[in-house]
Point group: C2
Chain length 162, copies 2
């Protein structure tokens, strides 16, 4: 189990997709502009997500991507592992240095820990996050009513992502 920016991009994109694809498919171009991720990079991530059976692509005009099952049935661990290639058969996998010695034991320990993290992330679905997302959005809308200049804030936000 690894946690890198790649996995983060995938989760972010999947959240965006889950949020916007209630009715129609969502194009990667839309996600790319909303989340400021490069289109080609998104395409690569979604190629993996598609192979993992989490999203389905719809070609042609009006096409795009949609979740292949409900957001509550897609957990974060799945998304991350779909894009992260999960190799890492390091060390004691190859040679026969994996006797009943300490190396193997501590390695086992780490694998156990890794499993626990995976288990934790498996317990969180896109749907779970969406709920929080929605709550937060409502909260922010209320802030908007307080007459804060949106354009100024958007500008600041976008420049921060460059």
């Amino acid at each position: 189990m690894r946690l890198t920016t790649k996995g983060r991009y995938a989760v972010t994109a999947m959240l965006d997709l889950a949020f916007h694809s209630q009715k129609n498919p969502v194009t990667l171009t839309d996600i790319a502009t909303r989340q400021t991720i490069s289109l080609s990079y998104l395409e690569q991530l979604f190629a993996r997500l598609r192979k993992a059976g989490m999203v389905t692509g719809v070609r042609g005009p009006g096409g795009g991507y949609k979740l292949s099952r409900d957001a509550s049935l897609i957990n974060i661990a799945d998304v991350i592992e779909a894009v992260d290639e999960q190799l890492d058969s390091t060390k004691c996998g190859g040679e026969a240095n994996c006797q009943n010695n300490k190396a193997c034991l501590t390695h086992d320990l780490w694998m156990g820990l890794s499993d626990q993290i995976r288990g934790y992330l498996q317990g969180i679905s896109l749907g779970d996050l969406l709920e929080k997302h929605h709550v937060k959005e409502v909260a922010k809308r209320q802030e908007m009513d307080a007459k804060v200049i949106e354009l100024h804030r958007m500008d600041r936000c976008q420049s921060l992502y460059k």
Copy 2:
């Protein structure tokens, strides 16, 4: 919060250190050979761990490294963050200046998730893992007594890493 092989090496080495430094300091050479991690790479990792105040180096003959506090007081999140450099203080800075924009909302979501993972790992100390370590070791000893063929165990171990 990131999870890479770097952090794994650090945790593995710290576990080894915690296990072997009950009385005397442990040299990095020992850890390197036991855990099959390159000595120089270990030196780099321990330079950071030392700066983070988790280990203390003892120079001269009979020297080595030892934990600067009890294993039960060092948690996994600390170890990982000590070596992982945790830059990426996230584009839109922790401030609430980036609101009303979807990119920032999902960003917040991810940060929250990251915090939860960190919190989870903070709840696990080296001491906790050592206990399990001991339990497992005893279990393996018992297996040995039961004359289980060791080769079979090696196979199992290896298949787990594939």
